[in-house]
Symmetry: C2
Subunit: 420 residues, 2 copies
């Protein structure tokens, strides 16, 4: 089985390397620069000679230059939202969408989902792409799907009761919020029909998982999504709950040391690097996801020959993930500069209030801006908050403070204080 | 052609009446009460003996009692969001979803969309269902779809440029906002690849249509959606732009006088009443949509044998439609009572600021609430605004006023002041 997989991977790697060489100018010039001839590719170990693809490459080739098919064969385009001046775009052919549905169907089936299940899918619209992907998989199985886009956990709980939901699909932070609101109601969690949570979009801790499992008397499964690769379904947790299974017929996965970029041993932390084996519109070679995980030595009792790792344990960079929306401190920096015309010191405070994740942006005004009138400051604050909302689709409060009040480490202002 | 259509309708009406009689207890007892035996149905004119179905019927039979198939055959469930204590639900089988895609594909093709087109679909998440429906139709044609859920018109315009969008799908109010922002930029609208707007989710005026058409040098098409029936695609405007074509092989349409409920003549205003002919999961008999239109005497030069009407000219009731989200004043009333414990006089002010539709809720506090401290009032205001946001997914500002300041008519407080 494992050998069959390696054979499939080899054939598909050969095909995809040659296809991107032929169809994507970016890869052709990259491979030429490295003196690589994909025609000569004959062994899996040779892949390590090939250069990585990064998010920056996707940004530089925005919007359509990474596509390996003509635009008329592309039926869906997902644009990443919320990045300042650095958008990226992912395309799908009809076959890509079929594969997306199949990969998600397989993931959901491994979690025990059948056509008798009722899935309640609730994502912030920043995670639209994930909602589409999971929904297409569930519909392929024939399960009933309730796509619902509501913030209010009380309504979600009502829907969960009324519709006899068996499977709740959401971000980990939303699940925790739901659990906190549940305790304020007279709903008996054991009287719900709920069997499982599927968490997607953010890392979560073992403690959070256990809290949800014991409160709701359910199982909690992890579904790994990489927007640049495909959305959800790249890896998933099966009913054995031993960690993430990567769908290796379709993704060649390397777990590499974040600094040396050499393969790590089982038990060691590494960055997930993915080569797509079957994607038509938007194939990627050695894409650095930035997500960190730990490959496991054990195989899963489910019998899967797939690579097994722990959950995602973090991000290589300091990306902020909040309510399923991701942003970089550098985006805040750019926005502050765009609005005020100055590079201002700032700090991002993440905290939780009544179960909801919140962001406060502390900004130290320059002397120039501080000497303005109170109402001018109020206007600036309002203006900033509106721009932040438009940029990130998140309510971000702004507070003006003195520079001395910032939390520092080794004399440097900490960009992010995470008190969640 | 017209006769063929009538024959198809007759056969399908017979089948659907018998099916709901057999499968849906609500219809069985209703038909029995009216002494109707669907086995005897033999002529289209007999349908007028059948009772109407209303939104209230759907609410009373929430969540699953109107379904005509077992839940395990339902693959998608759309719940209406934003209604206080009166949710409704719509279900789809796999065949229903296929039909949804086909109806939308036909509508889009009639607007001239081919696989070379790039559709940018932008809806508030309250219109999720419409986004899904239009997307499935566009993918069936093989057009490229960019589903993007962003408020910021500047970003939408950037995407429109970068992705060479040919078709913008949005609500009329969003399109107007976009046009206003466009004029503040240095983008030359004629240099865009845009060919058409497809407007969905709200009525729009001829003036708005002309404004968009001349500014962008495009055509503007109307796509009619009824959430309870199917979502988008129930009726559409073809390239001739003569009005709405109803897809009568799948929907038996009556246009009835809003008071007498007798069929109106061409040129007269009437309410759209729909009987679904082919829906499996959630068939409806003589459903009163509450939408008003005017049937036209002319046939369309496109040769379609379908019923042709004007655009939707309004709603039978005083439903507020704002940014694609619908709500009733009665929902505001209930929410105010829930939060304050009192029935408070209020008025809903709809206005437009920088092209964006906004809502201000004016509330007259009772003596009891007025004598509280300033900070208590501030808290109440904040609390109300948060609850309103959770309820309607819309930012609604609250202002406390004296009762005397309300605009009245015949001594009665006007519930809605529409200054948009």
């Amino acid at each position: 089985m494992k050998n069959d997989l390696k054979l499939i991977q080899l054939e598909r790697l050969y095909a995809i390397l040659n296809r991107v060489y032929k169809e994507v100018p970016f890869y052709r010039s990259l491979f030429n620069r490295y003196n690589l001839d994909p025609e000569e590719f004959s062994d899996l170990t040779e892949l390590k000679k090939y250069p990585f693809t990064t998010r920056e490459d996707l940004q530089k080739n925005y919007p359509y230059q990474m596509f390996a098919v003509p635009l008329r064969e592309v039926v869906r385009i997902q644009a990443s939202s919320g990045t300042t001046g650095e958008p990226i775009v992912v395309g799908y052919t009809k076959n890509d969408l079929t594969l997306l549905a199949e990969l998600n169907a397989k993931a959901l089936q491994s979690m025990g989902i059948t056509k008798d299940d009722v899935l309640q899918i609730t994502f912030h619209h920043g995670l639209f792409a994930s909602a589409f992907g999971i929904q297409s998989g569930a519909e392929l199985i024939g399960a009933s799907v309730i796509p619902i886009n509501l913030e209010d956990p009380r309504k979600q709980l009502k829907i969960m009761q009324d519709y006899r939901t068996t499977t709740m699909v959401c971000t980990p932070s939303y699940a925790i919020w739901l659990s906190e609101v549940l305790l304020q109601t007279d709903i008996n969690p054991h009287a719900l029909m709920l069997k499982r949570f599927i968490l997607c979009g953010e890392p979560f801790t073992e403690k959070q998982k256990e809290h949800l499992q014991s409160l709701f008397k359910v199982k909690v499964y992890d579904l790994y999504a990489v927007m640049e690769i495909f959305g959800p379904g790249v890896a998933f947790e099966c009913r054995e709950q031993k960690g993430l299974h990567f769908q290796e017929e379709h993704f060649y996965v390397e777990i590499l040391h974040p600094e040396t970029l050499e393969p790590v041993n089982p038990g060691e932390l590494g960055e997930i690097v993915i080569t797509t084996l079957t994607k038509e519109a938007f194939p990627l070679i050695r894409y650095r996801t930035g997500d960190l995980t730990i490959p496991l030595k054990e195989t899963c009792p489910c019998g899967s020959p797939y690579l097994l790792t722990t959950h995602i344990v973090g991000r290589k960079d300091d990306l902020v993930m909040l309510r399923g929306i991701k942003f970089h401190p550098s985006q805040i920096e750019l926005l502050l500069e765009a609005v005020t015309g100055e590079k201002l010191p700032f700090q991002i405070l993440l905290y939780r209030e009544e179960g909801i994740e919140k962001v406060l942006l502390l900004v130290a005004l320059s002397e120039n801006l501080f000497t303005d009138s109170f109402s001018a400051q109020e206007n600036l604050k309002k203006n900033l908050e509106e721009r932040l909302y438009l940029e990130f689709n998140l309510p971000i409060k702004v507070k003006f403070v003195e520079e001395g009040s910032f939390e520092k480490k080794n004399g440097k202002i900490l960009r992010i204080i995470d008190k969640r």
